[in-house]
Amino acid sequence: MFELSSTLLFVAFGLYMAATIFFAVSITGKKFKNRRGIEANKSGLFGYISAVGGFISALAYFVTRWLAVGYAPVSNMFEYTTALGIAMSLAFVIIYPIYKNNYLGLFTMPVVMLIIAYASMFPVEAQPLIPALQSNWLFIHVITTAIGQGILAIGFAAGVLYLVRMIDFTKASKKVKGIEFIMFTLLATVAYVMIGIGFGAADYTATFEYVNEFGETSEIDYPLPPIVGPNEGELVSEQGFNPVISMPEFIRSDDVNTVLWSVLGGLLLYGGLRFGFRKPVAGALQPLVRNVNPQTVDEISYRAIAIGFPVFTLGGLIFAMIWAQIAWTRFWGWDPKEVWALITFLFYAAYLHLRLSRGWQGEKSAWLCVIGFALIMFNLIFVNLIIAGLHSYA
């Protein structure tokens, strides 16, 4: 059952990729079809069918894993991040029929794939539940939150689409730098996943003996070649080499090393594309989306947020408070994750109020959608992994 669930997730990933390709063809392939004398381009429909298939397969992954492990598979970083990707595809599957916008598919499906690929970098094996998580509120709270964030993420995809369509790439500006930074971040994530898979497949580990923050000698495993090494580190494994620089003891050097690899990989990918196209990467995408109606995309992002906000509030704050009252004796305790959920809530609340004012539709609102998604990812990754709190399980 457990192996089956992994296979199903793999299938889902493939179908999301197929959907991306179909949506790309639906936008760029019109000419080819015309030459053959066929007027209708059905790629958009195929793209949607692939996306639905991907979602069904992902849902099957979710159900089979649930059956195999005995609890809702949303209990650690791999499981939650995967659920977020699936939720985003669910939101897309619901929103696409309303607007039938193939461009949205082209921008959403890659993000879904990237989220799921990123998730698979965390340990994927089944973990037993600690007592605090043994509750039905686990799936009620977490699944609702994931769906809410998934819908909000559509706002992000639509926001990026809007920016790529509208920004003037002919002259350098802060806007161009901003959208290019988004592209770079996405590419760095791609690089992180590719490097991780590559060295994982090669079974790479470099082990160091080093002096940790308590002044004790300890061992640390590097999954990637050590560009930066630990404090007073000494290589004890066959693989690996002496690092270029050493980190002080209070910094988690393996994480710094991984981030460095991702940034370098991202720079390589970004630089390659930048010089290959001889223009900003997002600017190279612009001709693809020339026919997008900005009003429509703006409305899609606004609607995604208007739909996602109540769901997120219900899951991320209200259900969270109910569960916190049951498990942690109080409904609110200013735990960092709680605070960042509140910040996300306040941010989108501010967005919804700003939409009432003139001048905040369109481009400014698209930037806000991007920032909102950045907050969600920050709360998922940074708050869980860096800031210690009650939510740091994974």
């Binding site: 309303i98 007592p131 109540p310 409904f331 200013w334």
Partner: protein, 556 residues
């Protein structure tokens, strides 16, 4: 203030943008009408004189509201930079801890009071400002908006129609208004008619959503504030050893809880199951369950306070994380534990000179939580505890002391009197006994105290919680959620059709989701010869885009 009279004869309050009755624009305000709040006059835009007006105007502004939200957002994030005081390890002195752990930034964090940010006066003030803004901004808009939507007429001024975002016009003679009406009704629009003019409206109640959710939020905030009133909120803590019964605070000595057994269960990493890989990777065993088997007792009617003899059994409950024991609004939560606390020592006497048969009788049990201080035996042996230190340490002055009543490091000073001595007059053999400690404190011992057995007990730590603000919080939260859904998942849509001088004007307005409105208009236009409508905002944008392209071309 002067009323403004529109050409339709309606008298509008000063400050009105669009006539409340016919919609004629009373102020020049761009190419498209500003339909927010139906163009009504709001108190905040009308009165600007007194202090009250100024305060009202300040808090009624959405801009100010957004600023308050942003300030709360930013300051809240600062509080997560380092842990709040309640999350630093217990027993640490915060004035030293932050500097020690986080250096100069930590010291600054502490000095600025950010270690208790969420209970600081200025954070409270921000929350209060948000509450005031919610009340005033809602009232400022709700009252006139309610009036305007209640009063709206079917027949609208042509200028109003032309200034709508979705608008079209054409000859009226060939349009089939009856089918339009039927189609609108099939889409569940409420249709009103007046002299051949139509107003179709749907989902007006969505407009009240924001006000409903603001009311919910205010109730929620009031609920949160009530916590600071005495008696509303109880947060206590109780340690109970296995087999012991403790009074539950906040019940006036009426309820008691007994710890029958405390358990910690671990996942078995030897099981050939799906979790084995993860369990093997962990350094420490993974806990699967913390549990207190508890019994709840109530003092019997007529029993006096504190008398534990007359307790009535109420119920048994297995308290686990996620499964508190709840009765009469009080909940007991599993939050902490201590495994293997010393509870009982059993001693015997050893001697090389004395008769062994006699010594066999001398067995004494010392309950470390409530020791019996004197033991005597038929064969004449007597043992006295001179002093007992449950948690022994030597003070700075060299005095033996106990830190507290918890027997973590017990020391007992015994005086043993063999049969031939008289405790009244003689001094016995004095020695100090503890774990791995057996020291004679005076000379001439013929007996040695020997520890035969140690009994351990598990202790459970329970949080006692009663929160009378919960019902208010729940009501507030529910109303908020209802309002949020009401305002988000329904949309107020209106379609006006007007006939004037043989022309037909069609206009539409939606508070959000213009896409659905346009679809509805496309649906009613099909086969009814209604004039075609356009999105004037699209056109506006196209004009601007063309303009900017032309200027670019010119500069090249």
């Amino acid at each position: 203030m002067n009323k403004e009279t529109c050409e339709c004869g309606h008298k509008n309050p000063y400050g009105t943008y669009l006539c409340e009755s016919c919609g004629k624009p009373l102020k020049e305000d761009g190419r498209l009408a500003n339909m927010r709040y139906e163009g009504v006059a709001r108190r905040s835009q009308t009165y600007k004189r007194s202090v009250v007006d100024k305060v009202w105007n300040f808090f009624s502004s959405v801009k100010v509201g957004i600023w308050i939200i942003v300030l709360i957002l930013v300051t809240s994030s600062i509080g997560t930079l380092f842990p709040q005081e309640m999350y630093i390890p217990p027993g640490e002195d915060p004035s030293l801890y932050y500097a020690q752990e986080y250096g100069i930034l930590g010291q600054l964090y502490y000095d600025l009071g950010f270690h208790n940010l969420y209970s600081s006066w200025w954070y409270m003030l921000l929350i209060a400002a948000l509450g005031i803004s919610l009340v005033i901004a809602s009232l400022d808009r709700f009252v006139p908006l309610y009036r305007a939507l209640k009063k709206q007429r079917v027949t609208r001024h042509a200028a109003f129609m032309k200034k709508q975002r979705v608008y079209g016009e054409g000859l009226s003679s060939n349009a089939d208004l009856e089918s339009v009406k039927d189609k609108l009704k099939s889409k569940r629009y409420k249709v009103r008619e007046e002299n051949g003019n139509l107003l179709a409206e749907k989902g007006r109640f969505a407009r009240w959503g924001p006000y409903v959710n603001h009311i919910g939020l205010i109730i929620f905030l009031i609920g949160g504030m009530l916590r600071f009133f005495p008696g509303m909120y109880l947060d206590d803590y109780v340690w109970i050893r296995e087999g012991e019964t403790e009074v539950i605070s906040g019940t006036d000595g009426e309820y008691f809880v007994e710890n029958n057994e405390f358990l910690v269960e671990l996942y078995d990493d030897q099981n050939e199951d799906i979790f084995q890989e993860a369990l093997m990777r962990e350094d420490a065993p993974v806990v699967s369950n913390y549990q207190t088997n508890a019994s709840l007792y109530k003092r019997a009617e007529g029993g006096s306070i504190g008398s534990e003899t007359e307790l009535e059994h109420v119920k048994d409950h297995e308290i686990r994380v996620n499964e508190p024991l709840t009765f009469e609004g009080i909940s007991l939560y599993q939050v902490d534990y201590k495994i293997n606390e010393l509870s009982n020592f059993t001693f015997t006497l050893e001697s090389e000179t004395a008769d062994e048969d006699q010594l066999e009788e001398v067995v004494f049990n010392v309950d470390l939580n409530d020791p019996q201080m004197y033991y005597d035996y038929d064969n004449g042996y007597q043992v006295e505890i001179i002093e007992y230190f449950p948690n022994f340490y030597v003070s700075d002055d060299g005095e033996p002391m106990t830190m507290n009543r918890v027997p973590d490091n017990p020391r007992i000073i015994f005086e043993v009197f063999p049969p031939d001595t008289d405790p009244e007059t003689d001094t016995g053999e004095i020695s100090m006994i503890g774990v791995q400690v057996n020291e004679a404190l005076n000379e001439g011992h013929e007996h040695r105290i020997s520890m035969q057995d140690v009994e351990l007990v598990d202790v459970t730590g329970l949080t006692v919680r009663r929160d009378h603000t919960l019902p208010i919080i729940i009501v507030g939260g529910s109303i908020f959620m209802v309002g949020l859904i009401q305002g988000s998942y329904w949309h107020h849509r209106r379609i006006w059709i007007q006939q004037k001088d043989g022309r037909m004007l069609v206009a539409g307005h939606a508070n959000k989701n213009w896409h659905a409105l346009k679809n509805d208009i496309a649906f009613i236009s099909e086969g009814t010869n209604l004039p075609e409508v356009h999105d004037q905002l699209d056109e506006e944008e196209k004009i601007e885009e063309d303009k900017s392209k032309m200027s670019e071309g010119g500069s090249r």
